[in-house]
């Protein structure tokens, strides 16, 4: 019964994630995606920016989907996930230890994201500036890993292919050439 509290292998969780695509299409002709919800949240604030002037009711389903992710993750994390540390490859552990990440417990490194470290210059840079890049980049690119990665690539869309290649080129270059200097 270990599957109840343990993480699932990629060949179980991957196909189930893919099944979200037909699930949303059959339930109401909706295309899987998460990042437009951020645009809708900004559109709730009173402003005169063109990008946020539209009928928010059309995007309400995506806000509900995002709320569902929070709720589903909360229930699963608190009742069906008992893990001391994420079982990453030994080579990754060695690389991170060499970069000064000593504590490999939990979902994210304590040195950067714990309640104590979060308000340090490093913690604020990784969370606030990182979050800013994530939000700005995702709407500029027109979608995220779900919208471009899962949905777009399943449709063999050229725009999504370019976007996903850029996500991975950006992330790989940043990991190898910038991260060592800021950790």
């Amino acid at each position: 019964m270990s599957f109840i509290i343990e993480p699932w292998p990629w060949y179980v969780v991957g196909p189930l994630m893919g099944a979200t695509i037909p699930l949303l299409l059959f339930s109401g002709n909706k295309m899987l995606g998460a990042s437009s919800s951020l645009q809708h949240l900004c559109a709730l604030l009173p402003n005169r920016i063109d990008y946020f002037q539209y009928d928010i009711k059309k995007g309400f389903w995506n806000l509900l989907f995002a709320a569902g992710v929070i709720l589903g993750a909360a229930l699963t994390y608190h009742f069906f996930y008992q893990v001391e540390s994420v079982n990453i490859a030994d080579s990754t552990k060695e690389d991170l230890l060499a970069l000064g990440i000593q504590n490999l417990e939990g979902l994210m490194p304590e040195e950067i994201f714990s309640n104590q470290s979060l308000w340090s210059v490093k913690g604020l840079f990784f969370s606030l500036v990182g979050g800013f890049m994530l939000g700005f980049g995702v709407r500029y690119a027109g979608g995220c890993t779900s919208g471009h990665g899962f949905m777009g690539l399943s449709q063999m869309s050229l725009s999504s292919t370019i976007a996903v290649i850029s996500f991975f080129v950006g992330g790989t270059l940043f990991t190898h050439f910038v991260l060592p200097f800021i950790l």
């Binding site: 969780v13 196909p15 063109d50 709720l71 500036v129 027109g142």
Partner: protein, 137 residues
């Protein structure tokens, strides 16, 4: 309420984000260092299931549970936006260890960092919307 199904679909996706550990900073490092099949296997199998579903829905002209014909739209091609935006998103993915759905999932776990990350992301979207017309698309 008619739209409850989207909340349920989101809950299913949230469950899978936890069970896949796709919201872990450590997993994303492992991915960008190409040291495990885990994340790539998830993308590959998800896209395989997605592609087969999309192909079947289109060729059989399948309908929604409400009887409406399913129509799929592709995202518009704007190469410069997808490249510049995509690279910046990649940087943010490394720093936070999260893409967008995992930001929401992390809120569910209660990590305080998730609220700062969400605030940063909303600020980024707001500034993008404000500067959109001055950026190359």
């Amino acid at each position: 309420m008619k739209q409850t199904k989207f909340l349920l679909a989101g809950m299913f996706f949230g469950l899978l984000i936890i069970k896949s550990e796709a919201l872990s900073w450590f997993r994303i490092q492992e991915m960008f260092r190409f040291q495990s099949i885990h994340m790539f296997g998830i993308f590959g199998t998800a896209i395989l299931v997605g592609s087969i579903s999309v192909y079947a829905i289109k060729s059989l002209q399948l309908k929604t549970i409400e009887g409406e014909l399913i129509t799929l739209k592709k995202k518009p091609l704007k190469p410069r936006a997808q490249i510049f935006g995509g690279l910046l998103f990649g940087f943010g993915w490394v720093l936070t260890g999260l893409c967008i759905a995992p930001v929401y999932a992390l809120i569910g776990t209660g990590y305080a960092a998730s609220f700062l990350i969400l605030f940063g992301a909303l600020a980024g979207v707001f500034v993008y919307g404000w500067s959109k017309n001055k950026l190359p698309h």
